[in-house]
Amino acid sequence: MTVLAAVNQTALGAFGIVLAVTLLITFWASRRTRTATDFWAAGRGISAPQNGLAIAGDYMSAASFLGIGGLIFLFGFDGFLYAVGFIVAFLTVLFLLAERMRNSGKFTIADTLAFRLRQGPARTAAALGTLSVVAFYLIAQMVGAGVLIQALVGIDFSLAVIITGAFMLCYVVFGGMLATTWVQIVKAVLMLATGVALTVLVLNRIGWNPVDLFNRAVDKSPKGHKFLEPGLRFTNPIDTVSLGIGLVLGTAGLPHILMRFFTVPDAKAARKSVMWATALIGSFYLMTIALGLGARAILGSGGEAAAGKGGNLAVPVLAQELGGGAGTTGGDLVLAIVAAVAFATILAVVAGLVISASGAVAHDVWSNVVRRGRDSEREEVWVAKIAAFAIGAVAIGVAIVGGAGLNVSFMVGLAFAVAASANFPSLLLALTWRRFNTAGAVTGVLIGVISSVGLILLSPTVWPGPDSQGSPFALENPAIVSVPLGFIGCWLGTMLGRSEDGERSFDELRVRSELGLGAEEPTAAGPASRDPRPTREEEPAVPAGAR
């Protein structure tokens, strides 16, 4: 990227500011993180608007910030299909899971999934589902970080990956969920502000008529009017539907997103935080239209080389152009800001992923399976920190060895497919189907993981090399096959396994998840005790008779 090499110093300065702010947050948070509830759930003292921002920061990775705009720039309408799936997905989360998870769980999705099942096998299966999703998503983000930072700042790929990993571990190990949450909040604010600023600059350039944007983009596209039609990216309609299934159901199986509902004081705050999150995330995705079409209208086909293979650099190049062009002070400054925001975006997402993985290892496997609940809370948190360190180290290693050659969007797609096929069916059935048992959970998760990973390995993206013909499985997105297989796995296992009378019954799970009886309370040591909790004040918990 010769165009971009000149901005090294400005971009480095902006990176330095981002890192300094996040380190201050971590230092502040580290003094408020003592118990396991502090470490994984920030003392359950995050308010609904804060959690909505944090969900936005956790959910929108660089694939959203730069990826969707880039895909719209390259493929027009098909790029926007991702944004539509990503936002509609929150309805599944809100209607089926958010409040019930908050009421019945403690730190991880396994708390709900394994609630009434045999702890050993059910928690192990849930941890496998979580770790598979996190592994693919984390490596994708690390590789993305390396590629982006190398292109935008000129730091070597391996060094960029190591820096990203080191800061991610610093937030999680020292500041736990409180630091992770505030890094995500800061990142969401930065990302939304940048989106608004770039959208205003684009509209200013084309004369404030949004409809003009469509016409100008068509004029500048070699595809002509086809640029506004579907079909430039996805030629097989079944593949498009399969992508939709993966996005809409996958979000409801992403462990780092579901974990965020444990950080709020109660179920009311959980559902309000989804409202905040959809408002913020939806607003950003609407702006990706302006960024993607704006990049096409303003940069034209000449921008394609600079935008890179996946179009990921289209938005930074557009930003530079809007700031005044390459080599100008304004252009360099805007580019540096966009680069720093992209960096903050990745840091916030990887921190959320690592803390959810540490929960799967320490809370689910170590504390509840290996030690059978006999360990102290102190030990649990220590194991979590060691686990976070190990997971981070492995992710850094794989990202460096796999290198820039790993296809980022393919890895993210895989993470959503695994989440939709393994985590979502077993979670939903655990909450709604009385007969569901341990064997069903284990087979469901296993078949979900194996089928989604297996079908991707057999798909045209991988078999036996990118873009090859004649792969055994014709679809790029496996969800249309692997999600039903995940459900069938749950059903088959349940039918073949024996019904069990666990210590906790389905009735207990239902009463707890619907009524919030015995739901985890915010801890006294958490920030909740110092901050007034607006969510509680707005809707005082008065009995029905008093209204």
């Binding site: 309408f77 926007f80 068509v218 939709g244 409202m275 207990e508 009463v511 015995g518 809707e539």
Partner: protein
Amino acid sequence: MASRPAIDWGAAVRTPEFQELVRAKRRWVVGACAFFFTWYFGFVLLAGYAESFMGRSIYQGFTVGYALALSQFAMTWFLCAWYLRKASREWDPLRDRARRRALELSRPGTDSSPMGISRPSGNGAVEHEEVAR
């Protein structure tokens, strides 16, 4: 396992109050899910099979496809807001009622441990309870 709360879960599920809450919620959620699945996958199917229809201009070059895509955003926001309104106006009162009923059904004498669930206090709120790990 820490202490077990003293609620008779089976009896709590069978109370008419709990059944009313669950039925009211299910009725709305099933309907809303059916609607958004239809609207969303209808859109995706059109994107897959009706490419030129999606590219048709409805206003000076603004196309059917983008209009339908934007309608998905509007639907998401609308259904979220509707769910929140339903929840605070209808389901929360039902839930509070079912909750008080469930607590009344608690087996007497088993909640004497300091970790056990507390009785409903004056304002009907549940205080706290140690959840088994």
